[in-house]
């Protein structure tokens, strides 16, 4: 360490602090939606570029079709805008692309007292334990005839 050198450095340092840390912490706290917003912005900006050649699309034209200001589109394309579902849907309609996908729901009955697998197909004992009735328990017949309940083999 050279004290004189560091003293001279301190004379040059402004009283104004950097805004970096504050912004960095904000990005950290909002990381999850910021990541999604950036991915959406990448899709939109690429699609505008793609449709520029075929449909004459531009950021200005997108703004007009969405009935928003060009400044809002600029902001949105930075990938740091907390978009509403309404805005996302409108953009999807105008550009004819999908920006987000919601997984479909599936209904599955789960029985915890027996374990089914290809290696251990439904036995007579277990089948009766499930419903107390006599069913088709031949290997590969993973369903109970009378109740129409389907058994999904595990481990496949």
């Amino acid at each position: 360490m050279n004290p004189k050198k560091l003293d001279n450095l301190k004379k040059l340092v402004s009283k104004n602090k950097s805004g970096w840390l504050e912004k960095a912490k904000w990005r950290e706290e909002n990381e999850s939606w910021l990541d999604k917003s950036a991915k959406i912005a990448i899709l939109i900006i690429s699609e505008i570029e793609e449709q520029k050649k075929t449909k004459g699309m531009s950021q200005k034209k997108l703004a007009e079709k969405l009935d928003v200001s060009p400044q809002y589109i600029n902001k949105l394309l930075k990938g740091q805008e907390n978009l509403t579902l309404e805005t996302i849907s409108k953009i999807e309609d105008v550009l004819g692309i999908s920006l987000i996908e919601i997984p479909s729901f599936t209904i599955e009955e789960v029985y915890t007292d027996i374990q089914l697998s290809h290696n251990a197909p439904l036995s007579k004992f277990n089948a009766q334990k499930v419903a107390g009735k006599s069913y088709d328990y031949t290997p590969g017949a993973f369903y109970v005839n009378e109740s129409e309940t389907t058994y999904k083999p595990t481990g496949s």
């Binding site: 360490m1 050279n2 004189k4 050198k5 560091l6 001279n8 450095l9 004379k11 040059l12 340092v13 402004s14 104004n16 602090k17 950097s18 805004g19 970096w20 840390l21 912004k23 960095a24 912490k25 990005r27 950290e28 990381e31 910021l34 990541d35 950036a38 991915k39 912005a41 990448i42 900006i45 690429s46 600029n74 394309l77 930075k78 990938g79 740091q80």
Partner: protein, 173 residues
């Protein structure tokens, strides 16, 4: 030119005349801005051939790397005496010498933060860039960073942030 504090008594950054942010703040703003990254990779599309990436993937990669880079600096900000010598290395990977006001870089993939080493674990950030080529001189935006490093080094020398004895030792080497 203004020098602002990033970490008290050890890490500083330059805020150039006419700029609204210091260099560290500007870099992380740009590395998280999809529009800026799209324009950058469109202009430097040819350099992406080496990485076998298209523009979309290059932007995603930059966002991901910038996030990790940011986390590295946040972790350092929580330390009492951050070991900055461990994250800033000489510009030339083969040069490991430590000399007066040596020009250094901190990197993640193609992201670079350039700085001047003032003393042990004391640095001044002068700029940064997305470096897609081998040599900084090969592209205008990285060549500009070399100019900034030199300009800032001269500024420190002119203002006495300089150990003349160390400099003489370096000349005699």
């Amino acid at each position: 030119m203004e020098i602002v504090t990033i970490f008290d008594n050890c890490l500083y950054a330059v805020k150039y005349d006419g700029e609204t942010s210091d260099e560290l703040e500007r870099l992380f703003d740009e590395w998280s801005d999809v529009t800026i990254l799209y324009e950058f990779f469109t202009s430097n599309k040819k350099d992406l051939t080496y990485y076998q990436l298209n523009i979309k993937s290059a932007i995603e990669e930059t966002l991901k790397e910038a996030k990790e880079f940011r986390k590295r600096f946040i972790r350092l900000s929580n330390k009492k005496n951050p070991n900055l010598d461990s994250i800033f290395k000489n510009l030339d990977d083969l040069d490991v010498r430590v000399y007066e006001l040596v020009k250094r870089k901190s990197k993640r993939k193609w992201l670079r933060i350039y700085a001047i080493r003032i003393d042990t674990n004391v640095y001044l950030i002068t700029g940064g860039a997305i470096k897609l080529t081998h040599k900084m001189e090969e592209r205008p935006h990285t060549a500009l960073e070399l100019t900034k490093l030199e300009k800032c080094r001269n500024y420190l020398i002119e203002n006495g942030v300089f150990d003349i004895d160390s400099y003489r030792e370096m000349l005699n080497e």
